[in-house]
Symmetry: C2
Subunit: 174 residues, 2 copies
């Protein structure tokens, strides 16, 4: 059921974006009962967020290159590609459409991604590299990449990505 | 006409948010012809963006405290209050709803705000303080404040605001 629903959402968003997408239509396409979708995901937005995050995990998995700088650089390059690509803002639109902010922090997909970033930091510490709290990655890498695309101000080139990685690494590790 | 339309948009958003808002309804409330609205703003989203930015300018004007650190701190405190407040994400929703990314960079309201931040940087340079490009303010202050509220991850306390200001000031001034 999960695989069929995910595929249906990806197909429908690929065909015509998020606009007017309904759970009924997704259920039809996936050949499942709408009730199963409501029971598992609750809302259309939570479902879209789950699907989008799963796709990001496949295309841009959290890296393990052997150094924190290498990991952060690979991560930032992946996010830049995702955000600037077609449908790069679909994820953020889905998050913003979730009426209740609580829904966002309860999202399993988002918590799992955060956990993977946290483990990337842990691996660095185990190697003896100082690493900041994982939220520094959200603040210094994810956030500016998103806002540059949203506001259409500033590019996402290699030099910029290096600047963002430097900012994470300059974060106070207290 | 502009004042009446702005007041109508603020009233309607205050009453029931962005959902289902139409230009026809705004025109009715403002007592103007819908054609005047289409002619001046083009789209509902561009109008909302103009209204929201004007309100931000009134509540949180770009500061002139006499030092770049003071200016950045006051600016960041204002943004944190705006973004965390009721309707704090309305502006971003309106930006994201603009179908054409070009519409965003063409927005007079956004360009004016960016110009004011640029002048804040110029004032610093005139006092002999090194100042980075104004986009460092978007990358290091605006972006993480927005994403912390959107994702519900991390607080917006005084310590965090100081960290953000430090990051802007640590930016390479080349």
């Amino acid at each position: 059921v999960v695989a069929a629903v995910h595929a249906a959402v990806e197909d429908l968003i690929g065909e015509r974006g998020l606009a007017d997408l309904t759970i009924g239509e997704i259920a039809d396409r996936a050949g499942v009962n709408p009730t199963s979708i409501y029971r598992r995901w609750g809302t259309l937005e939570a479902l879209v967020l789950d699907v989008e995050m799963a796709a990001v995990e496949v295309r841009s998995p959290i890296p393990d290159t052997g150094s924190l700088r290498g990991d952060l650089h690979t991560y930032a390059t992946g996010v830049a590609r995702e955000v600037a690509g077609p449908g790069g803002l679909t994820f953020l639109r889905a998050v913003l459409a979730l009426g209740d902010r609580e829904d966002v922090t309860r999202s399993e997909a988002m918590r799992n991604r955060a956990d993977r970033i946290e483990r990337m930091m842990d691996r660095a510490r185990e190697r003896g590299e100082p690493a900041p709290h994982w939220t520094a990655v959200q603040d210094c890498i994810l956030a500016p990449l998103y806002l540059r695309v949203i506001f259409g101000v500033g590019g996402l080139d290699e030099e910029f990505i290096t600047t963002l990685v430097d900012r994470v690494l300059a974060t106070d590790f207290g």
